[in-house]
Symmetry: C2
Subunit: 336 residues, 2 copies
């Protein structure tokens, strides 16, 4: 039996090969009617794309890996949607690996990517990663790597981030503007670029507005909800801060829970602002003031750059350092 390919479908329907290809990928460029005609014929003739044979021919896996610390997190789920929007357009598969913030898992997972399993890697580092030799090894094998959000700055490759330092400065300044004199920072691991930048922005704002820095107001949060809740409750009881700047959404949720348990009223007794992509931020009691990162766009851009490196031999990943702006959305949790 003659095998059916895209060219054959295009001939029968009298449309271009690229239109058939796009219709089969459910691309937005193609009308519903055309898609239905294409899919009907494809089904009738039992058309089956053969990506494996094509990947053998090109010696490519047509697969990219996305290594992230966790998935039950609005930032990463939005970023994945962004990555995946590009990968589907390109006809690529997306392998998702979760490190659960474990350096050992991150090392073990990257070792699985040797030997041509994937053509490229998008990664956001775990909080416990301080050595990068596992990633240097991957890179040495010719595998393009793009960092997003939690990046390694001393690594010759593309980094897609947000303006963490400026955003942290603005968040802290916002609390000062709203009348807070004693401001605590719930920080994410010092191992991470975002941890250090958000801390530095907070410290600079205190300095600029002549508020004393107090190390006991900087809480090193962990990756364990119960531990973090205990740390936050202790902070609220012992130090009685006027304001809290949380480096990630999870710590803001912990603060809301701590306040509920301790009968502390937000924003009257404590104001709070947090980096967050929480969909329900505006529906919380009270609604949460956030610094919102363009997570979908970050994922999309990271994937776009990775594909440029895959498509163009001379493309220099190390020249790509893209910084997106985050948005401060003021809500009730920082009202005067």
């Amino acid at each position: 039996m003659e095998s059916v390919n895209i060219k054959k479908l295009a001939q029968i329907l009298n449309i271009s090969i690229s239109t058939v290809s796009k219709a089969l990928r459910d691309s937005h460029d193609i009308s519903k009617e055309t898609k239905e005609r294409v899919i009907a014929l494809a089904n009738e003739l039992n058309y089956q794309p053969n990506p494996y044979a094509s990947s053998l021919r090109k010696n490519k896996s047509k697969t990219i890996a996305v290594i992230i610390p966790e998935i039950d997190n609005n930032y990463f789920s939005l970023a994945i949607n962004g990555i995946e929007s590009i990968a589907q357009e390109k006809g690529y598969h997306v392998l998702i690996y979760l490190t659960h913030e474990s350096y050992l898992k991150e090392v073990a997972l990257t070792k699985l990517l040797h030997n041509g399993r994937v053509d490229g890697v998008l990664i956001s580092l775990s909080t416990t990663t301080t050595d990068y030799s596992h990633l240097l090894e991957l890179q040495a094998k010719g595998l393009p790597i793009v960092f997003f959000d939690r990046v390694c700055e001393n690594f010759d490759t593309a980094c897609i981030t947000t303006d963490d330092y400026d955003s942290a400065f603005n968040a802290t300044k916002h609390l000062i503007d709203q009348g807070c004199k004693k401001i605590a920072h719930l920080m994410i691991s010092k191992n991470l670029s975002i941890g250090n930048k958000r801390l530095a922005g907070y410290q600079k704002a205190l300095l600029d507005y002549q508020l004393p820095e107090d190390e006991t107001l900087i809480i090193n949060c962990t990756n364990d909800e119960k531990t973090d809740l205990a740390l936050i409750k202790n902070l609220l009881q012992e130090k009685k801060p006027h304001g809290i700047f949380a480096a990630v959404e999870r710590y803001a949720i912990g603060t809301y829970q701590a306040c509920k348990e301790l009968n502390i009223i937000i924003p009257e007794e404590l104001k709070i602002i947090s980096f967050s992509n929480l969909q329900t931020a505006s529906l919380l009691n009270p609604s949460l003031t956030t610094i919102t990162q363009p997570a979908f766009q970050i994922g999309k851009e990271a994937a776009t750059i990775l594909f440029k490196a895959l498509d163009e031999k001379r493309f220099q990943l190390k020249n790509e350092n893209i910084v997106f702006k985050s948005t401060l959305l003021q809500r009730e949790s920082t009202s005067k």
Copy 2:
């Protein structure tokens, strides 16, 4: 140079091969000290696992596919964590495919899985899928398929679900107990098993408690936030229901937004209960009464059953029909 394998590492450290293997996967069974010793030696000797060679030998991809409608959804992100907890233990890769509720994408994606790209498939159907021949074709090629949550009931394979009918009955009964006489249902697509079961449970409760059924109180929600918000606002203004039972979390969030815009006070003027795995349900204004599914366990069980089918030739997937119980968590949104 002699190549380093797990056996060699075990010999040098004088521990079992299985301990080394588990330590490299960061298994919970192994102490931190042992893990550190193993990883240190593995790094020193530049040990690299060779999954590709092993998969060629066994003619297996060591990869499973997870096909889901969306990822920015707490149910699915928790389910993926459950799936992935088993896959990592088994040393398998997880390919995640998003259909974005499009039947055409679902068909296109499953066609990519022919030709040995994966060893098995876990799937939760898109809302627009009414024909299953693309999955029957996969199954005919010997690929084991396990459905979870959104299942196809006329398919000879394992289905992992929750007690949708009973939970919907209890949710509606709860609204009746709290004094609601006119109860609306925000339903998910009639194409889906969960859509029909949740509707049927709602209808049965109305019947048992002698409340008249009114078709205009049943809203067929879509996958578009704006459309759904308009539908819900129209319902609240035109029909003035006392209570709402939402089939999925997204519709509950839409209802909160609609009430905010229309100045309708929850729970005084409208009570609401929803299927939801929202982490912030207890922190919303007011806190949301939920039917919470054990999403992590569902993912874990679905993966466990798939691996049984991969490990045991005689294992009969079609005999596996597992129904987990959901939990009704009463909060302020349904207070009297």
